[in-house]
């Protein structure tokens, strides 16, 4: 098997790692948008997290990665196969730039149609990513109609196909991770808003960190399996932390005082819509669960506010200040010292 760079061996990039863990704890938070330069370990981190998570149980032979005891919408041939539950790694789909709609949504199985005249649906990448991760590099360069489609499916958790005489629907719940560089074109605000969290990643500025990155990568390339073994304990700790937080999250209490703070923060920043407040609350709860706490505190809120709100602020053409300092300022003003 091909070794995957361990999650806990990633140097720095704490905000990105935290955002990914928060999203892994509560899937309803929605996707994560990662802004940043090329070669800063974005896809490495996402891939590492996917390989870290415990395997899922699927029905053998199911082409839609359905749960072993699935109910709800299921396409006609989903139950084909033995139907016995089997273990499968968490899916990770890397959507290439320039992917066609056919590839993403799925299309008529051309081979079968031509050879046997059978009308059968060939599931696309959306079906493949069900219950896993869908990673889109340079999401800002993706065709608009594809971005719309992906975000819609990500929000509804279901892929509805109406094309080429096919009419079916299948579940497609996945964590959408987008990455992009704002210098190469911006994403429309309505689309940005659909992402739950956003983080800015930068190349580490301290030379010592950069040397450490190169050193670890070099060791990984020379001896992948040995390197992975070195970090297996740390990775296992991360898995345990996420699993525990998942169990604990629904019971974490959000006091009214914290909810009010969240509303006032969103109001002060002029973040559009209620989605910001909702995400803020969910992310704070997930963070509290990750930290082993039973109650959300203002400190949790302040910690997740930048990643939950950064991309929802209306860009002021004449204001040079970036979003992150604006959020920090608002927190300093509103939060009790």
């Amino acid at each position: 098997m091909k070794a995957i760079f361990p999650f806990s061996a990633i140097v720095g990039q704490d905000e990105m790692k935290q955002a990914l863990l928060i999203a892994a704890v509560d899937g309803r938070i929605g996707g994560v948008m990662v802004f940043g330069d090329r070669g800063t370990g974005k896809s490495t981190a996402v891939r590492a997290l996917a390989s870290l998570l415990p395997p899922i149980e699927v029905r053998a032979g199911c082409r839609y990665t359905c749960e072993a005891k699935a109910d709800g919408p299921c396409p006609f041939d989903c139950t084909v196969g033995t139907g016995k539950p089997v273990q499968k790694a968490v899916p990770f789909v890397d959507l290439p730039l320039g992917a066609t709609e056919d590839r993403v949504v799925g299309a008529l199985d051309l081979e079968r149609a031509l050879a046997t005249g059978e009308k059968r649906f060939e599931p696309g990448l959306l079906a493949k990513a069900h219950r896993g991760f869908l990673y889109i590099d340079e999401v800002n360069l993706l065709e608009d109609h594809l971005v719309d489609l992906l975000l819609d499916v990500a929000a509804s958790g279901e892929n509805v196909v109406e094309r080429e005489g096919l009419s079916l629907r299948h579940p497609a719940r996945f964590l959408l991770i987008g990455s992009g560089n704002p210098e190469e074109g911006e994403l429309r605000p309505q689309l940005l808003d659909r992402f739950g969290l956003s983080v800015d990643v930068k190349t580490p500025e301290v030379l010592a960190d950069r040397i450490e990155v190169v050193r670890r990568r070099d060791r990984f390339d020379r001896d992948p399996h040995g390197f992975v073994a070195d970090y297996s304990e740390a990775d296992a700790a991360v898995v345990a932390k996420v699993a525990k937080a998942r169990k604990r999250a629904p019971d974490v209490v959000v006091p009214d005082q914290v909810l009010e703070l969240a509303s006032r923060l969103c109001q002060a920043l002029g973040a559009d819509g209620l989605r910001g407040e909702l995400t803020l609350m969910r992310a704070a709860r997930a963070l509290a669960a990750l930290n082993g706490k039973k109650t959300v505190t203002p400190a949790h809120l302040a910690a997740v506010a930048p990643m939950a709100l950064r991309h929802r602020l209306r860009r002021n053409v004449l204001d040079e200040t970036g979003s992150t300092p604006r959020i920090a300022r608002a927190i300093a003003e509103i939060f009790p010292a």
Partner: protein
């Protein structure tokens, strides 16, 4: 051994690890000779495949062989080029014209080392040779270039220093290369890692531990071509060293001829400085910036897009990005089934022939680029420039929704300058606009000429162009001394009209006189008199014209 030879041997030593090479060279005997050297460096029988221009995905990644499938009556698959080249080399000619989709596919396979197939993953580990024949603005897609360790310009080859018989080993090479990458501002962590790999390969080739000579080679082949700034004088590299943890092996207790980290870094920086003639960095930085954006431009060159909204079907052949509309194809084939069945009674399934194929027609909304040509001369310049800047930002904020691009050219003193290459990034536009200079003469002709050049380049990418010229029309600097500046400007304006560039002429003089009208007529431009142009009015005029 020259760097060119060394590069070829390094690629043969670790093809997949290094990713490949960006070879900047025109087609010709020198390039052919290098490719020959590369082929010789690999063991005989290694696949060395040339990727045809405009290769379809089925050929690249493998897929259904449609023609064979139809004649055989059962699905037949063909392996893709990438799988066939496993363990070898893929040569990509005219890489600067590589469509963004193909570049993205290649980058993905380079990262994964395998191609998804019908029966799981098929290995595809190869070195990519991008033959970059780009001039001026053209360059290879950035996503791909950064994944290929070696960057080599065959026109600017340096003879490598003759190696001393036993070059001093350099155990601190990893730290040193990171520090040099930092000092040169060279492409983040990926570049540093690639430099480390090249140094290791080079050492393995020579059968020794990594030495000074290997570090120097890594700097020449990997880091220096990616440099975005000149390393500071020799004193500088010591500063970052303080932050670095002292590498255990590199301290003074080693043999006397073993360089310390400082000495090694200094040496590497010297190598880099020798390779970077003054002025080259500015050119490279511009290229890098454009390369970032050109990933999408290449895709838009096509007249009939391969992606977009569906708009009916037409009969046609597959290939070149054409997409089959299956239902329509089957409909076209349906009436002929009884006849064809008589010819081939044994066949099962639907009998489809090439002329039944129906191709989807796709449309993509034409995207537009607005080029502002702003008179930055004389006393009124500052106010005028300020308003133009405001208009550019307003239009950009608007292009959030419309996905339009904006560019800005300013002319003053002796010539014109593209201050903002076409972009729809607010962040980048703001940075470029921040300090816009003003004052001096009015080289109107030079400004129009620059606009025409940029306009034609943008049109070539399949975008529609609107040029907006803001000036009082009083040219006083000609392109060549001795010419009448006004006549010169009108000639440049006529050229724009003949090139078919749509333009708007905004006359900003307090009391408009005849010059503006004459010039606008020469350009075939719409004339708008806005003596006190303000950003809002400007944006409104442009939106109405576009």
């Amino acid at each position: 051994m020259t760097d060119a030879e060394l590069a070829a041997r390094l690629l043969a030593e670790d093809p997949a690890g290094l990713g490949g090479i960006v070879l900047k060279a025109r087609a010709g005997p020198i390039r052919d000779a290098w490719l020959e050297t590369l082929a010789q460096a690999f063991p005989p029988g290694t696949p060395i495949r040339r990727m045809p221009v405009g290769i379809p995905d089925e050929r690249l990644l493998g897929g259904l062989d449609l023609a064979a499938t139809l004649s055989a009556g059962r699905p037949l698959r063909a392996a893709g080029l990438l799988v066939e080249a496993d363990g070898g080399v893929i040569v990509v000619p005219m890489a600067e014209r590589l469509p963004a989709e193909t570049a993205a596919r290649l980058a993905q396979v380079l990262d994964a080392g395998e191609v998804p197939g019908p029966d799981g993953q098929a290995p595809a580990r190869f070195a990519l040779v991008l033959l970059d024949e780009g001039v001026d603005d053209e360059c290879v897609p950035g996503t791909l270039a950064e994944r290929l360790a070696i960057h080599l310009d065959l026109d600017r080859l340096l003879e490598a220093d003759d190696l001393p018989p036993a070059p001093a080993p350099a155990p601190a090479y990893l730290e040193s290369l990171c520090a040099v990458a930092d000092a040169l501002g060279a492409g983040g962590i990926r570049a540093a890692l690639q430099a480390v790999k090249v140094a290791q390969s080079s050492a393995r080739l020579a059968g020794r531990a990594v030495s000074e000579a290997d570090v120097a080679a890594a700097v020449r082949l990997v880091l220096a071509p990616r440099a975005t700034r000149m390393p500071a004088e020799a004193a500088e590299p010591e500063a970052p060293e303080e932050q670095a943890p002292p590498p255990p092996e590199s301290s003074s207790e080693g043999p006397a001829n073993e360089p310390t980290l400082d000495e090694l870094t200094e040496l590497a920086v010297e190598v880099a400085r020798a390779m970077l003639p003054p002025g080259i960095l500015e050119a490279q930085a511009g290229r890098a910036q454009r390369g970032a954006a050109s990933g999408q431009g290449a895709g838009q060159m096509r007249q009939s897009p391969s992606t977009g909204r569906r708009a009916g079907v037409r009969a046609g052949r597959l290939g070149r990005g054409a997409r089959l509309d299956l239902v329509e194809t089957l409909k076209a084939a349906a009436p002929w089934q009884p006849v064809r069945r008589r010819e081939r009674p044994a066949a099962t399934g639907v009998l489809v022939r090439q002329d039944d194929f129906r191709i989807r027609k796709l449309v993509r909304r034409a995207q537009s680029t607005t080029i502002f040509v702003v008179d930055a001369s004389g006393s009124a310049a500052l106010a005028r420039l300020g308003e133009a800047k405001g208009a550019v930002e307003l239009l950009l904020a608007d292009s959030y929704v419309r996905r339009d691009e904006v560019a800005l050219i300013a002319f003053r003193g002796e010539g014109a300058e593209v201050l903002l290459p076409p972009t729809r990034s607010l962040a980048r536009a703001k940075r470029a606009l921040q300090d816009l200079p003003g004052g001096g003469g009015t080289p109107l002709a030079a400004g129009l000429e620059a606009a025409a050049k940029l306009g034609v380049a943008v049109q070539a990418k399949g975008r529609s162009v609107t040029t907006v010229v803001l000036t009082d029309g009083r040219a006083n600097v000609a392109r060549e001394s001795g010419q009448d500046p006004m006549v010169d400007a009108e000639a440049a304006g006529t050229a724009m009209r003949l090139l078919g560039l749509k333009s708007v002429f905004i006359d900003t003089s307090p009391r408009p006189r005849g010059e503006g009208a004459r010039l606008a007529a020469a350009m075939g431009a719409r004339l708008v008199a806005l003596p006190r142009a303000d950003a809002g009015a400007l944006a409104a005029v442009v939106k109405a014209a576009a």
